[in-house]
């Protein structure tokens, strides 16, 4: 499944680039991240519990930076292993300066495998859209924080049925 979009940040490109390439700050943008270990500046692993509304989907995701052209382009590969679900994702983003801020064009090619994929196939697209919206929202906060500190993470919720 391909998902693309663009986002305008009220911050200089360098700041946006710095946030995007600092695994610790990127971790804060991910929904339900529980722990994080950085092997080196090109490899890091996140343990997440993706909030799927009716409970969480535990996954450990290995990130690898594939390509990098500071400060305009980066490409990442993510391989997630959860129970009943395997996630393969290639994501890349272009940063361009625009009207005092930075425009980010991003795209992600998401492959989800296993029972969770076939079970939740009908709600997959809306859920991915939701998660992407939250990551971008959190990323915006991180960028603002990098400019001027002080913000907290988003919350998500649902009642059982």
């Amino acid at each position: 499944m391909k998902v693309t979009g663009e986002r305008q940040f009220e911050a200089p490109r360098a700041t946006v680039w710095e946030v995007l390439n600092d695994p610790a700050q990127m971790a804060k943008t991910m929904p339900g991240v529980e722990s994080f270990d950085i092997q080196d500046d090109r490899h890091w692993r996140a343990h997440v519990k993706i909030p799927l509304g009716l409970g969480g989907l535990r996954m450990s995701i290995d990130f690898e930076k594939m390509e990098e052209r500071e400060p305009e382009f980066a490409k990442l590969h993510a391989k997630g292993n959860g129970v009943g679900a395997v996630l393969n994702m290639d994501t890349s983003f272009h940063l361009s300066e625009e009207g005092g801020g930075t425009k980010m064009n991003w795209e992600a090619d998401v492959h989800l495998l296993g029972p969770v994929a076939s079970m939740g196939q009908r709600v997959l697209q809306p859920i991915v859209n939701q998660q992407v919206a939250q990551v971008l929202g959190a990323l915006d906060k991180q960028v603002q924080e990098a400019k001027a500190p002080g913000a907290d993470a988003p919350t998500t919720s649902a009642q059982g049925s």
Binding site: A85, H111, L112, P115, M119, Q121
Partner: protein
């Protein structure tokens, strides 16, 4: 439970000339019902053993990947886990299961667990055994498997290019291919007034999904090396033939037991991989192990029906609508492992011309592997796909030439007076009257008020259509057809076994070699034996289910391919006749007269014309079993007989691929009326008629029940049931939430009718009829075509399954399917 004291009035049509009141043909109460309506049946998951471990499989999330490592250490540390099994162990402890096909299919390595590679989502990689079901599932989450994803292929035609090869050792995805050429097709094309060409038709992948999934409880006796498998296997004879060599043991070391099975429909024929894994675990852990397959496991990994694409169909037709035959290229997608499937490359040839008198047929057949769940015989196996092709041909040709599809059928049907009718490839249709069955179906569905029905529907904004589905249920395989597939195979003919004994208290006990899953074998067996021994079915004790230790089964034993009424009851009749003869000999010895003077009536052996001189069964049983002094020494009587029924078959001519492949041909002609909502494509089956002709009916209610069940499954397959995969190879219909089978409200009002064309080739004049040939699919496709198309215009129904959106697409873009068909007129 009501006792059957009534003496039925219908004459028994067994021996010519001698008419005797009989239980055959009567709807006696089913013996199986008393336990089943009280929840007292014994299905495999009901069987419990002390300290048994529960098996759960670790399954692949990838459609195609190399297995780099399997680490079970964390799983073994979990409290309550008894042990594990991985592919490496299986590759050492067992040999690959033997393959039916010739190379390249012959070179496929198929094991109980994935060895080296996984080839479809759900492919079992490892197994864990634990104290509880839940713990076993927890433990599978701790098994760490490292995969190296490989490219995968999900489409049969694409797979033929061998760009992605599933089985390296085979070197190609082609399992088997061959050309069948009977009559003179090229001459027929020359002689034709029209040649109709259909570019593509596709029979969708579905399965009858029995409500009880598969499973087994396996015990291993270390002292004797004996495995006991309580399971759901439909063909234990063939199951043992696969498993014993793989486990490197004699075939007798595998004892199959089943009492009640929750439906099979063919899906429980290829269980040997999972059963072999359970046998290894039972031996390794020295404890009983129990594997229960859950619904999602069954849909993702345990047998779908054949998915078959038909290309370049060519049909030579005379001006008056007489068709001379057809040619087609067929591609059969058997999923990741062929297993039983290569036989599917031949079995359609049992009904090569369908119900029609076509003499010139050419079929280029290829079976191919894809990264999807393995395929196995599913109700209607391989003949259903072919019969759907012949029915689509008749409807499309009639539509293109502006002829009435009913008249075209009657013109091309095999005529009643031509039976027994030899088909172009040497099969012999034993008896039937297709035209008469069609008339009954038309009458049942009110065909003569067709126009009123159409107008009434139009007044409600609906489009009306009526369609016919005529099909044959070929039963009692001649396994010699497997030699056409692979000359080295040593299978031919068929057999089934029954035993019958009269024990010391006069009770008649019968055992079967078959594996009933709802067909009522205990009941029909009791009817046949009662009529031969002159007693009532209640006095016959037919042991429930199957047990190899009863020694009443043979290599080809089982319940499959519409054959019980012939092979099963043939064996029963043989055993009962032998027992009756021995009872007469014993009575004659006691009375000092000849056996021919004795008759068996009212549960006694008595001298004809002298009813007082009678020995009740109990006396006969007691004399032989416990009081036999003074009997003449030459009297060779045991009152405990075993009979093997063998239908007469010849080995086929492998060169011409010619010979009789099946003994009997039951007929099913169905008529279906649909109303389509043109705005949404949603359609409803508003009326349905099913007429069957399966020779002498042993138990009419059971026959009709089979017709109801086969029709319901066909209507599900025609409307919603498709196993659909996404581009990753994930199955998108892995459970009954997304795989919509018919519920009570989905079924149309169903009218049934029948005739009885006695089979000249079977002991009781009966024919097997359980599979049904998928007539419902053909009838729904025909009805949709009738509603949507007019002479030479409108869309073509080219798929076997037509969900609402499919019908909506046909309506929106008729030209997309219209271009599949062309007519060359000379």
């Amino acid at each position: 439970m009501t006792e059957t004291t009534v003496t039925p009035e219908r004459p028994l049509v067994v021996e010519e000339g001698e008419s005797k009141a009989g239980f055959i043909g009567q709807n006696i109460p089913r013996k199986e019902d008393k336990r089943l309506v009280q929840g007292e049946g014994v299905f495999f998951d009901d069987v419990k053993r002390h300290e048994m471990g529960f098996v759960h499989f670790v399954r692949s999330p990838y459609a195609h990947a190399r297995i780099k490592s399997v680490d079970v250490s964390k799983a073994l540390e979990l409290d309550g886990v008894y042990g594990t099994l991985t592919g490496d162990e299986v590759a050492i402890l067992t040999d690959p299961f033997f393959e039916l096909s010739t190379p390249p299919g012959a070179n496929i390595k198929d094991y109980a667990l994935a060895v080296g590679r996984v080839r479809h989502v759900g492919d079992p990689v490892a197994a864990v055994v634990a104290r509880t079901r839940e713990l076993a599932c927890d433990a599978t989450e701790l098994v760490e498997v490292e995969y190296e994803p490989l490219p995968h292929v999900l489409d049969g035609e694409e797979s033929l290019k061998d760009e992605v090869v599933l089985h390296e050792e085979a070197g190609s995805n082609t399992v088997w291919s061959g050309v069948f050429d009977w009559g003179d097709f090229d001459a027929a094309v020359e002689d034709a007034d029209h040649v109709v060409r259909i570019e593509r038709l596709h029979f969708d992948r579905f399965s009858s999904t029995p409500l009880e999934c598969s499973g087994c409880l396996v015990e291993f006796n270390r002292g004797t090396g004996q495995w006991t498998i309580h399971g759901t296997h439909q063909m234990p004879g063939v199951g043992a033939i696969w498993m014993a060599p793989a486990l490197r043991v004699g075939i007798d070391k595998l004892r199959f037991i089943s009492q009640d099975i929750g439906g099979g429909f063919g899906n429980k024929i290829t269980l040997h991989p999972q059963y072999t894994a359970c046998c290894l675990l039972a031996r390794k852990l020295n404890r009983p192990v129990q594997w229960t397959e859950w619904r999602t496991d069954q849909h993702t990994a345990n047998t779908h029906g054949n998915e078959r694409t038909f290309l370049d169909v060519t049909v030579p037709v005379k001006a008056d609508g007489t068709m001379l035959g057809f040619s087609v290229r067929a591609i059969d997608d058997c999923g990741a492992f062929p297993r039983y499937e290569p036989l599917g490359c031949i079995i359609w040839a049992q009904v090569t011309p369908g119900c029609y008198r076509w003499r010139n047929v050419r079929v280029d057949f290829t079976q191919v592997c894809t990264n999807k769940s393995p395929v196995a015989p599913n109700r209607g196996y391989s003949r259903m796909q072919h019969l759907w092709l012949t029915e689509r041909i008749v409807d499309i040709v009639a539509g293109e030439l502006g002829l009435d599809p009913i008249e075209v059928r009657k013109k091309n049907y095999v005529k009643h007076e031509e039976f027994p009718y030899e088909t172009p490839n040497g099969c012999v249709y034993d008896s039937g009257d297709y035209a008469r069955c069609l008339d009954i179906a038309l009458e049942l569905i009110g065909y003569d008020s067709l126009e009123e029905k159409r107008q009434d529907a139009e007044s409600r904004g609906k489009v009306f259509g009526i369609g016919i589905g005529s099909t044959l249920d070929s039963g009692t395989n001649n396994f010699g057809q497997s030699m056409i597939l692979n000359p080295e195979l040593q299978f031919s003919g068929n057999n089934e076994v029954a035993t019958a004994k009269l024990d010391i208290f006069g009770e008649v006990v019968v055992t079967l070699g078959t594996v009933p899953q709802g067909q009522g074998h205990e009941t029909t067996t009791a009817q046949v034996v009662a009529d031969i021994l002159g007693c009532t079915p209640d006095e016959i004790n037919v042991r429930a289910g199957h047990d190899t230790y009863w020694n009443s089964n043979a290599g080809l034993s089982g319940t499959y391919a519409s054959q019980f009424a012939v092979t099963g009851l043939g064996a029963v009749k043989g055993a009962a006749d032998k027992l009756a003869d021995e009872m007469k000999q014993l009575a004659a010895a006691v009375f000092g007269c000849g056996p021919d003077d004795i008759e068996l009536v009212a549960s006694q052996a008595r001298i004809k014309g002298n009813p007082e001189a009678a020995l009740p069964f109990m006396a006969l049983g007691a004399i032989l079993n416990a009081n036999n002094a003074g009997l003449p020494p030459e009297l060779d009587v045991t009152l405990n007989v075993r009979y093997v029924f063998r239908p007469e078959f010849e080995k086929p001519d492998l060169e011409r691929k010619f010979g009789n492949l099946t003994l009997t041909y039951a007929t099913q002609i169905h008529a279906c009326a649909v109303e389509i909502d043109p705005e949404t494509g949603v359609y409803e089956i508003v009326d349905y008629a099913a007429v069957d002709d399966c020779g002498n009916r042993i138990h009419p209610q059971i026959v009709e029940g089979q017709v109801h069940g086969a029709t319901a499954q066909a209507l599900g397959a025609a409307t919603h049931e498709i196993f659909t995969y996404d581009e990753e190879g994930n199955l998108l219909t892995p459970n009954f939430y997304d795989y919509h089978v018919p519920h009570a409200l989905d079924m149309p009002p169903m009218k049934t009718g029948y005739i009885e064309s006695t089979s000249p080739f079977t002991p009781l004049g009966a024919k097997g009829m359980g599979e049904g040939g998928g007539a419902g699919i053909h009838a729904v496709c025909a009805a949709l075509q009738n509603a949507l198309g007019k002479k030479g215009e409108g869309p073509i129904v080219w798929r076997s399954c037509n969900p609402y959106e499919g019908v909506w697409d046909l309506l929106q873009k008729p030209e997309e399917t219209r271009k599949l068909v062309s007519v060359e007129t000379r």
